[in-house]
Amino acid sequence: MGKVIVVTSGKGGVGKTTSTAALGAALAQRNEKVVVVDFDVGLRNLDLVMGAERRVVYDMVNVIQGDAKLPQALIRDKRLETLFLLPASQTRDKDHLTAEGVERIINELKKYFDWIICDSPAGIERGATLAMRHADMAVVVTNPEVSSVRDSDRIIGLLDAKTLKAERGERMEKHLLLTRYDANRAERGDMLKVDDVLEILSIPLIGIIPESMDVLKASNVGAPVTLADARSAPAMAYFDAARRLAGETLPITIPGDKRGFLGKIFGRKAA
């Protein structure tokens, strides 16, 4: 049976869709079967980031309403054959997602895939609560700034109250993914530091993704950053986060500033 992960945040624009695509592609490169599911009905983006926007024929709402079978709606990635996308509908709204329909789809996906990664819409309404409802694990995407941290805190509260796991009295596994982190700005006090965020949210950290132009570049060419440029700093951080999701224990590295190669070696000792 596959594991269901919800990528959520409360606040919009913090990097949920980017992270869903990057983690999905990173897990798929370990030869595990992965499907990324877009729950943002009406404002879908995951198809663009995955570079599959021209290949969408059927979407999740079609499957829920019985107009299409699930395999017809799944889109296989052209670069990785173990990576699939279930797109959201762009022309409908979130009222077309029904609790029973979503449950049916997730249960069916669990039979065929190792990982089902649900890209939650922003907010705490229907779309977001349905995306988290069947999750086994949650990745809470947070930027190092106060409003994002507070919204994440709110979402963590909902993960502990409104999911099936919570209702059965089990503990939902929650992981913090800190995105758009800039060590220099954190040092200057323009951004919250890693420890501050961890202290407020008190859930385990799964990775720190540095603020980088590579992420934007990858989105614009329609490739998850872990596929577009696997050697870039954000891609490496996503690869590590994916390994931690799969259960490996790795030390967390705080992405440093861009000093030269020698500066990196000597600068750390001097400090």
Binding site: V146, R150, D151, D153, R154, I156, G157, L158, D160, E199, I200, S202
Partner: protein
Amino acid sequence: MTKVLTDSRSIRIKGRSFLAVVLSPDLPLDEWLLRLDDLAARSAGFFLGRPVVLDVTDLAIDRTQLTELISGLGQRNVSIMGIEGARPSMLGPGMPPLLKGGRPVADFEQPSAESAAAEPVQPAKPATKEPRGQTQSIVIHEPVRSGQSVIFPEGDVTVVGSVASGAEIIAGGSVHIYGALRGRVMAGSVGNSSARIFCRKLEAELLAIDGIYQMAEDMAPSLRGQPVQLWLEGDVIMAETLS
């Protein structure tokens, strides 16, 4: 023009709980009203001076029917102080407010015709029946997250963890927080001026004891980030660091 506040006393806002009679009508409403008339005939003045809440959960009626029901009850001298379980579309201006978060207590005993007639001498019941449960304190083992609120008018609240910005704790007694307090805390909310607030790291948005409140900007900057206890002396919130 700006008004100058000459009186520095703060406004007291308190919580109190009252026991209300909850009426849950069923359909058809005219038959239910007949049964109510029958009850009122057996014990005149049963509803007189009692706070009455109308519970319309699962009752398939619209706003007009609800208005008629309220006026029908009004003619029977039953005045409704609040409505429970109504959809927003059922309520309009001039109607009693929507109430939420009611907790059940022992049912009211309906006076019955037989007991009044056949058994005029009843053994005296215990005069006071405390409507409080057994627990007088609760312990929360997890952080209280933004948007969550813990309401415990019966006694003390202890949180082993922090209270986030945008979360709130309302306790009838004292509040103990073994973590950072970034949200709002109201201790002694049912009129207990000896309640105290303790926290390991004070970064609160609002603090109140027995209705006297203090906002973040009223707190001494030297207390920020410190382990602090707060209590009430007269109408002033006092604070000192715990070391």
